[in-house]
Symmetry: C2
Subunit: 309 residues, 2 copies
């Protein structure tokens, strides 16, 4: 069995990661998670994508929303609202415990990797979830008039302002998480997460970027665009605003320096020839993961293919 490293954002990536968790032994799986949208809110360090992955893989997530915890209550937030407090970021009572505990761990001197290992264990998960970096990388969204912090753009303004560019602050001081031995993984799978704000922050980390550029044959992209639209979130909207066609070719172009293989949805097979001509091996699959079985099926399709290639 090969070893698989997933590059993963939040909701969309976590779905595929759950599929991989079901079919692989933990020792064959590593999941690198974007931390570019981490932020400090109400004195708490919040890592939305790490939480989404952790909750999803541990069966703790609210599957209907894709983020947050199941059987969640909102009593703190409701009381905070009555105090005219800051309630634009949804903080459930159980979710809050994660932020409080992680913040405490980080203040006690643990690295984000160590805090993630500790939390993974507490959520009964193997130690296979890795923040992309122990250092802070902050994603900013450039709009026509203002540079917005990611959460302000994503949650407060609900992705409404048109995007012109993205800025990642902190890259000079940030290193790719040194707990991850890239050479130990024969296959690297880029999950169907938002390329601009979930995957690109990772790709800006020098060590990972160089590894992908040097080994594009071991990198497989799972398209986040299906049937000319985003599987989830603002990917398609961002592509349009950046002047890109909303199709799989644009995704292939985005990743062309890093990857030689792409999974596209069967509904997009008319693009197969064009993308093949771009130098990609193109694989068809059903990329829509709207229930547990479809997540497992997609992971199995990918693994079956990569084990033979």
């Amino acid at each position: 069995m090969k070893n698989y490293l997933l590059l993963c954002g939040g909701v969309g990536g976590a779905k595929l990661a759950l599929g991989f968790k079901e079919i692989l032994s933990p020792e064959n799986l590593g999941i690198v998670v974007n931390t570019g949208d981490d932020f400090t809110h109400l004195n708490l360090k919040i890592c939305p994508d790490l939480d989404t992955v952790m909750y999803t893989l541990s069966g703790e997530s609210d599957v209907s929303k894709g983020w947050g915890r199941k059987n969640e209550t909102w009593n703190m937030l409701s009381a905070l609202s009555k105090l005219d407090g800051e309630t634009w970021f949804q903080l459930g009572d159980k979710d809050l415990a994660t932020h409080i505990h992680r913040t405490k761990l980080l203040q006690s001197g643990y690295s984000l990797q160590e805090a993630t290992s500790i939390l993974s264990k507490l959520f009964n998960l193997p130690d296979f979830i890795y923040p992309m970096s122990n250092e802070s990388v902050e994603t900013y969204v450039q709009t026509k008039n203002r540079l917005l912090s990611f959460q302000e753009y994503f949650v407060k303004l609900q992705c409404k302002p048109p995007v012109t560019d993205f800025v990642f602050k902190g890259l000079d001081a940030a290193e790719f998480n040194h707990s991850i031995d890239l050479d130990a993984f024969e296959e690297i799978v880029i999950c169907p997460s938002n390329p601009f704000v979930s995957i690109n922050p990772m790709l800006q980390l020098n060590k990972l970027q160089q590894h992908l550029i040097n080994h594009p044959e071991k990198v497989t992209v799972i398209s986040p665009i299906v049937n000319l639209n985003s599987l989830k979130g603002p990917t398609a909207k961002m592509m349009t605003e950046l002047g890109q066609d909303v199709n799989v070719q644009s995704i292939a172009k985005f990743y062309k320096n890093y990857s030689k293989r792409i999974f596209i949805d069967s509904s997009d097979q008319n693009e197969l020839t064009t993308i093949t001509h771009m130098g990609f091996e193109v694989c068809l699959a059903d990329l829509i993961m709207n229930n547990f079985q479809s997540k497992v099926n997609l992971a199995k399709t990918i693994v079956d293919h990569l084990e033979e290639s």
Copy 2:
């Protein structure tokens, strides 16, 4: 009508404060609250006595417990417990909103007085609650082997270790809250709070101490000892450990430099003569406040007496 300033700790003091709130106009009432047991916990500034007073006076308190909020839930704490987090301090979900909002206000540059005014307004209370100081005074409990922070002693160790002394850190830099014009109050009432850890931190603040020493005739003590025991909490236990008799005379001795008048419970009237000989005017009343009406009745008894004196 005279103006009344209460010196008040948590649960016991808040009961009498509620009685005063019911019978006085807000413009005739000020409530100075101990902040010596404030602490920072899980990155949150927590002011237990201010919260107890605020919740009690706004009808938001859990009357059965005396602290915390009514209709409280504990979902964050329960989730934190599953993460092996720090759960020794009881943080309800609604209560948490207060700590989160106050912490945010303080970090935004508001003083504790300003944050208290803002919170009071949000709890539909007049602006008559004053933290004893804007600066931090920290109460430590000296036990045989260790100096314990107050919350560690009070909550974590449930007041079990015998006390030998008390230490107040930060007094050099702390000033009595300058929003309180002591000369504007004709009467100062020391609530039946713990003398050692609720009232004494205030008395260590120079401006208040000097004012009481210079005007003991305007200071009335309400005994926290009734029928040879504490009304509430560890007062009697502490008195014993400090080698004091658990009776009203010991309370009178404690306050003798600051006050010329004391209300004692009818059950303690055998001490009346002795305390009178100590230079106190002694007033008998029913000091046990176990329902709303008894709180109002006691406040009325005190005010009626002081209006005539």
